[in-house]
């Protein structure tokens, strides 16, 4: 395949963020978590917090292409995790390994367009970056009993010996799916789809009822 010529390709990138006249609504907007956080219980075994309106970018490229790996590190400030089921983070940037040639990058919502543009500028060759921010959201579960809620919902073995801090798996979650990352000893981040967010919000309330659910805004 060495005789294949790589021609310069221009990709049009559109800033998906509307101006300030339109309010950004996360997939759990209708649940009004801010109000529940104020009026609901303040102590319990499980704390739920939505990391709303982050910028989600999927990156697909060849993990054996050293130039592309270098370019990705330059854009993100952190090297891509090439080991299966690992993640890397620096500041507010988190990179999750999804598949041998796919990563999910989360950045602050307002920086998504900037990072996407930087990829088109820095990276050469065959690759793809897509802004999927509108399609998913992140729910953070923390507290002593957060792991029991995960155990009820997913077949994944989350014992710390099998599932250390920083590990990422994409798996079945309830009757839906989620990208689960252990962000702390007792803290899990679930990347969930917009279309399943209401179902999983109801599921998580039900699954954590016996431990006491605290909503954090």
């Amino acid at each position: 395949m060495s005789d294949v010529k790589t021609e310069a390709v221009t990709v049009s990138v559109i800033n998906q963020l509307p101006d300030a006249s339109i309010q950004g609504q996360s997939p759990l907007f209708h649940a009004d978590l801010a109000t529940i956080a104020k009026s609901g219980p303040k102590t319990g075994g499980v704390t739920l917090k939505e990391e709303a309106l982050l910028g989600h970018l999927t990156l697909r490229m060849n993990p054996e292409n050293a130039d592309q790996l270098k370019a990705a590190e330059k854009v993100l400030g952190v090297a891509l995790p090439t080991q299966p089921l690992t993640s890397a983070s620096k500041g507010d940037v988190v990179v999750r390994w999804i598949s041998p040639d796919e990563w999910l990058i989360t950045v602050p919502g307002l920086k998504a367009f900037e990072v996407e543009t930087a990829f088109q500028k820095e990276m050469k060759g065959h690759f793809q970056v897509v802004n999927v921010s509108g399609g998913q959201t992140i729910v953070k579960l923390s507290g002593k009993y957060a792991q029991y809620v995960i155990k009820k919902s997913s077949p994944i073995d989350i014992h710390p010996s099998e599932f250390p801090v920083g590990k990422v798996v994409t798996s079945v979650f309830a009757k839906s799916s989620a990208i689960i990352r252990r962000s702390g000893e007792n803290e899990f981040e679930l990347v969930i789809r917009r279309s399943f967010s209401d179902y999983l919000w109801l599921w998580l309330q039900d699954a954590s009822r016996e431990y006491g659910l605290v909503i954090e805004a």
């Binding site: 299966p84 089921l85 041998p100 077949p155 994944i156 994409t170 798996s171 079945v172 799916s177």
Partner: protein, 93 residues
């Protein structure tokens, strides 16, 4: 629990994350235009249905979404071997 090893994730995962996509190693005829109807029909429709060892294509549908091959005993469900696409099975009989 029925655990299947995903060669891309490098660990055993629960069966419900996977899908079986049928017989493996089916090569598309290099020149479909010069195939007889019988050759094309065999390629398109006819599959093995053995009792015993079977080489199958599986996909880690709820995980990394990559395909791989599994050599499996269809009578006992025992998985003999898991290998990546493009590789040849070591367990053949």
């Amino acid at each position: 629990m029925f655990l299947i090893y995903c060669p891309h994730c490098g660990e055993y995962r629960e069966e419900e994350e996977f899908q079986n996509r049928g017989q493996a190693h089916i090569a598309r005829p290099l020149d479909p235009d010069s195939c007889t109807d019988e050759e094309w029909g065999n390629y398109m429709f006819f599959r093995k249905n053995p009792k015993g060892l079977h080489h199958e294509l599986w996909v880690h549908a709820a995980g990394c979404r990559k395909f791989f091959n599994v050599t499996r005993n269809t009578a006992t469900y025992e998985i003999k071997e898991v290998y990546k696409i493009g590789e040849q099975p070591k367990v053949v009989a």
